[in-house]
Symmetry: C2
Subunit: 386 residues, 2 copies
């Protein structure tokens, strides 16, 4: 039942080691795999090219072609005086970055002999886990909050998952699902599952294959994505494949910024963010399970945490659409942050900056304000076009 | 104003030649570029690898990373006794295959000095043209039918396009837009624009890089996609890069199948399909502008045209979701057709079949029947999961 793992798990907070594939440390914090080192190979997919760096062997038959997304040169960069690149994660198989982590975590679940997997999510992650689990022939339990709309859940239930709307404290559900999952033999792939975090390293690897970035802007909710990209760059450096780490910047919405708040207040631990309210729903986790771990990384490496307003987010969303990239509000936070960082002089002119576009705008279409639509009779088309 | 083109345009129906970049022949049929030949190169993108094969130089700065989509091995193939591969076009920048054609056509419009482009579409193509045109800094005129819902147009207007709802015969609009476009200096990139068709060749090239397919299943509406994939394989063969052409199969919905009807009746020309009605809206063109050209290809090469019912389409859509791929109904028609072709013995056991998944299911989410959602209090979660 236990597949061979390349390395031990460790708690980045208290240092405890685990040989068993636990999900969280007994101290309450998330565990992570010890640093993997290696060298790149020739290969079509990022999984093959960075084969040495995965704690479990990727199940290539399960792959839907996640990852290997385009790094798009942005024109906004010129206006802002930096060299800006957009990592377009909206073109993953379920149209968000979550697929990278899901792929690796479901690979593990299959090898470990699980018959069912699950997740706690109403959005991108739910769709992603449902898609890969059904592909793998596993039963899927998707736990969603009471407030999740039927409309939103359509894009999840369509994959054939068992969707369960849970009445009660949504924050508790994260921990409860892990506990019950262990008891019932359901492998819960939540936001900062250790394999999920490993999957996100692939974003760092792909960026490093194309450029040597100075800054990476990362929309940050649970902290899983931030931790994954950080670990990816750290492993590249420890493997001697890059010389310097880029400056990673966690971006949160002003209306839900537990990590940035704790960071600016010099606290070591995050506190629950009461009454979260932002248009960037996909990053509105008021008590991120990897919040403390992200905080530690920010301090250790001298990285940044920055908040942006809903107004700035919506403006950035329109600016990205003007480059042909329609993203969900959460995905536009990086660009909103960049404008602030440039204006305050925190990012130098000419710096190479990557902003992660986490998920497709189609996912939040009902919240988008449509543009003006003109009416025109066919007979008058010439005037209407003129 | 006139960019250098590698080859002349020709009418596949009457044989007339054009040195100017016209869109249609004086006989009324679509024109196409004469066969291009070449050899493949090493390169990251399909545009670079098949550089010899584009009539106009692709504007790589304009690219959003369209193309180079995954060819996913399907488990349905096993059940049906064939080797089935799914070409997942839902992971293009605006989440449909249209981006390949749009990229090349906008590349041309830029080189030709146009200040504005347009298209006639309410769906995938409208979003695609809007995205690339705004990226290129061109004005965009999107002409839609009276019946297009505001909801549907959101995903288009978000890019900042000028969306015009035209009252009148939608069929006439295609030709009217080309005429007025020429007069007003707006380059209209409609469904079978010659550069658009050239862009779709990239699908054939990518498939041929990975496998030597026996059959390609192509959801067919205007006929532009079919013609592009056909031209791609023909050019590979004429360049000595493949030995045999695969059998191309045009797939239409029973409720709107002008090409298949004319084909099975032995007619040389299609007739308008009255009262079209199908769930596969994206392929519901009752009078496809490339219908006659497709008909000619089907005859010339002994290819196939097959219709499928709405019921079969919706079943295939669910089957694809069961593999982790959520597509719009039109994109599921290939799988519906495959089942028929296998059952009738028209496709041999063990044949290598590729089905083109043209666009994302998120685009037609409001039409999807959601699965069942269970309710559960947190205290009872163990029973609910058990």
């Amino acid at each position: 039942m236990k597949p061979k793992l390349k390395t031990k798990l460790t708690c980045p907070m208290c240092g405890s080691k685990y040989h068993d594939p636990v999900q969280r440390c007994s101290c309450g914090e998330p565990v992570e795999f010890e640093t993997l080192k290696g060298e790149p190979y020739i290969g079509k997919t990022v999984w093959e090219r960075f084969w040495d760096f995965w704690p479990v062997e990727p199940e290539l038959e399960l792959s839907l072609g996640e990852g290997d997304t385009p790094l798009v040169k942005s024109k906004l960069g010129k206006e802002l005086g930096v060299r800006l690149y957009l990592k377009n994660e909206t073109v993953n198989p379920t149209w968000s970055f979550k697929d990278r982590g899901t792929f690796l975590a479901v690979s593990y679940a299959l090898k470990a002999g699980y018959k069912a997997v699950g997740t706690v999510s109403t959005g991108n992650m739910a769709a992603s886990v449902a898609a890969y689990a059904t592909r793998a022939g596993l039963e899927t339990k998707i736990l969603v909050s009471e407030s999740a709309s039927d409309e939103k859940l359509k894009a999840v239930s369509v994959y054939g998952a068992d969707v369960i709307r849970v009445r009660g404290d949504y924050g508790k559900l994260y921990f409860e699902s892990l506990k019950l999952g262990e008891k019932l033999g359901i492998y819960f792939i939540n936001s900062d599952n250790p394999f999920r975090v490993e999957g996100y390293k692939s974003i760092a690897f792909e960026i490093a294959e194309e450029i040597t970035p100075d800054y990476i802007l990362i929309p940050t909710s649970s902290g899983g994505l931030f931790r994954g990209i950080a670990k990816g760059f750290i492993e590249l450096k420890e493997s001697g494949l890059i010389d310097e780490l880029p400056t990673l910047t966690a971006v949160q919405a002003e209306g839900c910024s537990p990590i940035c708040r704790a960071f600016s207040e010099g606290k070591e631990r995050i506190k629950r963010f009461e009454n979260p309210k932002t248009v960037a729903k996909a990053i509105a986790n008021p008590y991120p399970p990897s919040g403390n771990a992200v905080l530690k990384l920010l301090r250790e490496f001298g990285w940044k945490c920055i908040t942006v307003s809903d107004e700035e987010i919506l403006k950035a969303q329109r600016e990205l659409a003007g480059e042909g990239l329609f993203v969900q509000p959460a995905s536009a936070t990086g660009i909103a942050a960049l404008r602030r960082l440039v204006e305050s002089g925190e990012i130098d002119e000419g710096a190479k900056v990557v902003s992660i576009l986490t998920g497709s705008g189609l996912k939040t279409l009902s919240h988008v304000e449509g543009g003006k639509i003109r009416e025109c009779p066919l007979e008058s088309l010439e005037e209407c076009l003129g």
